[in-house]
Symmetry: C2
Subunit: 486 residues, 2 copies
């Protein structure tokens, strides 16, 4: 049973609020293994809805799922120079197996480029075998000492797409297509608006030519990198001899892309929509969208009310609503209300003896807009008829609210380092400035503000007037977004 | 592209046939990591259909999914004496992580009883928190030196259900319920009939009180253990302090069950239905149930035929059929036929210029019964209307055929060790005999025949007349099934 103590308010300590709410909403728990978390059924149910939606989108864009080994020979990881530099410090290493010391140590995959492209090299002979468009749902391991549930754990669950193409142009097109899929998913399913754009060289994936990213702004005005899509060029195909015979008969190296999102998205959902009462789960991701709480004091009341509750459940389920009756006898209605609000169920439907007599129900919405009533007393038939649309409206409202907050905390046209520092030391948020492209400027901003260059935003997100001056002085060649980040 | 060479016939070398067909049907491939396999999209697609069906059945019986850590402290595995004895020789051990040697080695889960019940101990306080009914879909590792794709690999994918109950009776009920779910799934989805029953003490799960099993008979007359369901009693709850306060107020240990099936089932499907042409995928598991092959010689023929193929595809998809058009230009129809037959697609639909003129299609069935035609020339409308039912009929036919083969190779009423040995050295199959329950008899049969006691069959599978004599001499107390096994 979840704890009934009030949560630390977000305004007081956002980080404490997050740690508390993730555990009290029963999304996840710490495990006896340092750095590894347990995803509890409520959290895993949300992840399953994320998986299903993404998987459908991957398949609709021509990808197939496959599964590659958990363990990778150390020598594979070491082949691509930048790749090994990026991942080696975080590796977990298997040195013994089957009662013996291994001849070569094996690492638990931190990501699977190396093992996957070594297999593609075996399968691909001709341009006719291209493109290869695969995805895998898997666990990965990147050793962490300071962990936070969902946001940073040694083991996490994710999907990693890996593709091989005959041309650089096709690979770039794929990289951008999957970035678009992620953006659509994050907006339409998590109701979490993102800024998409290109990473600077210092922030790109270890081994990529170009990394594109989805950056979301959390309620504490820190950025969350929510998903990335990489154009890997021929960096890995050259190390793993992934070649093909072109239509013209020449032996060429293939062009690769990889892209991934993880259970970190559950953390993003929490920090985008949660409030001081608990988390808020967007209806499309909610394992339970409507909870029906029967209210009664006497046994003869109980029978009629619980029966009605189950009748409503069956009718809503027929209408495609994910609905549950909470008919536990040892909890009073108030305790049930708190539990489901903490867990972020979009709607609660209360029904008591008086409602039964009036053929009405009480519908309570988890989040309300300005001037909107939290409770609605509705004729039963109307509630049943309207709930599917009300769930869709709730979903849209969450996105709109998150977008308004993000915009209110985006600072455009910032020209000086002082101004940038002032915003980041104060309210925080996304800060848009000009940049010359000089890595020394990026490094200086990072040192002085603790913020990082989140991305060079794509066309949808650029300011109406391109900045003329670089934040470090001199001419600007592009606009960039800075923020403190998770 | 798959290899065009003919397969080794099953009758010549079943084992060679299996190894070839798994790779040439592109189900799986060997990886550069000894003992680990790669599951390719065709194999993974079949596994996805298995997962979806099982997952729906688990949820319909009240279970929720969760996720527990990959790595388990060595000390956890060592707590339950029989458990550690069973699994220690197969462990893969992480000794270093994050650039340092770990204080305590961590093992990659061979199964998750220990870590899961340690978490249940944290979550369960009262009888009101019971039952806990969880499942996880995960990878596990049991180090193997002699591996076979799907049947025996170091890493494999599976689901493991773990439950906690207030009474022994409830735990036993759950153990048998999930055995029933497995049996239904194997029969109705894989079209693979199984004998269910109890394992003898020497064959039960390391740490279980009782293990129930599903045993299938492969075409080479060897048994495949296809899934197991364990009543764990209080063996683990006592080691991990998984206690609860009973309704009467007493502190009691919970009663556990665990149950699992794995990607091994894909191997079972191959060895149940495959033939010398390739594998046969039961329609309910087939990622593609119908492949449409347009046939043409000239370019103007191509346009019309391919257009019609896509029209039929769209109409079949609307009827809920998983259908694909193979319009690759660089392969001739014969090469496509061979490829899809090797991959076991239930139906092929051919359409050429003459068929177009006659508004007919040619429907070719992957497997035919006695006296049944392989090819049917059908009016287009009839083919479209009948295909969903023909797929269901095909599914039923596969189960019937497999059951008939299993029955033809089940030997009942066997009374002497000589007779048993003669059958097992000869044709093989399931051999039913009496048994006293004496482990020494079991050991002697194993030594003399290389067969193992597969199970003490449940009521549905017992012979009409209970055997009177034990196979080792003396009185019988139960009937048992022997077979050589994978």
């Amino acid at each position: 049973m979840a704890d009934d103590k009030a949560l630390t308010p977000r305004a007081e300590d956002f980080s404490a609020w997050y740690n508390e709410v993730v555990q009290r909403a029963e999304l996840a728990d710490h495990s006896p293994v340092r750095g590894s978390m347990v995803i509890r059924p409520w959290g895993y149910g949300i992840w399953e809805h994320m998986q299903r939606a993404l998987d459908d989108m991957f398949k609709a864009t021509g990808h197939e799922n496959a599964y590659f080994p958990l363990l990778i020979p150390m020598s594979f990881i070491e082949k691509e120079k930048e790749h090994v530099a990026g991942f080696k410090p975080e590796l977990a290493v298997v040195t013994h197996a089957g009662g013996k010391e291994l001849e070569e140590p094996l690492v638990i995959r931190p990501t699977s480029e190396t093992i996957i492209y070594s297999m593609y090299a075996k399968w691909v002979q001709s341009y006719r075998d291209l493109p290869v468009l695969m995805n895998q749902w898997a666990n990965v391991m990147r050793w962490e000492l300071r962990t936070r549930l969902f946001l940073r754990t040694s083991e996490f669950l994710w999907q990693e797409g890996h593709t091989a193409h005959a041309t650089d142009a096709e690979a770039e097109e794929e990289t951008l297509r999957m970035l678009g899929v992620y953006r659509t998913f994050m907006e339409e399913w998590i109701a979490m608006p993102v800024v998409t754009g290109l990473k600077s060289d210092s922030e790109k994936f270890a081994g990529a030519v170009r990394t594109y990213t989805c950056e979301a702004l959390m309620q504490d005005n820190r950025a969350l990198q929510a998903g990335t899509s990489h154009n890997l060029g021929q960096n890995f195909s050259k190390q793993f001899d992934l070649t093909f015979q072109s239509e013209a008969g020449a032996e060429e190296y293939a062009w690769n892309t990889s892209w991934g999102v993880s259970t970190r998205l559950v953390g993003g959902m929490v920090m985008t929509h949660g409030d001081d009462t608990g988390i808020v789960v967007p209806p499309r991701l909610a394992p339970t969208q409507v909870v029906i709480v029967p209210i009664y004091r006497k046994e003869h009341e109980r029978t009629a009310v619980v029966e009605k509750a189950h009748e409503l459940r069956a009718r809503l389920a027929d209408a495609g609503v994910r609905v549950k009756v909470d008919d536990r006898d040892h909890l009073n209605p108030g305790a049930k209300f708190w539990e489901w609000e903490r867990k972020g169920v979009p709607f609660r439907l209360e029904i008591g003896p008086k409602d039964l007599a009036k053929e009405q129900v009480v519908l309570v919405k988890r989040v309300t807009g300005e001037g909107e009533d939290r409770k609605a007393f509705l004729p039963e038939a109307q509630a049943l008829a309207e709930l599917p649309q009300r769930l869709e409206d709730f979903q849209a409202q969450l996105l709109e609210r998150a977008r308004a907050r993000r915009e209110a905390n985006s600072h455009r046209g910032v020209k000086t380092l002082e101004e940038l520092k002032e915003i980041l030391d104060g309210p925080g948020g996304f800060v848009y400035t000009g940049w010359s492209g000089d890595p020394a400027v990026e490094e200086r901003v990072k040192e002085e503000t603790k913020a990082t260059l989140r991305c060079i935003p794509g066309p949808d997100f650029r300011s109406p007037n391109a900045p003329e001056r670089c934040i470090g002085g001199g001419d600007s060649t592009m606009e960039v977004v800075w923020a403190k980040a998770y």
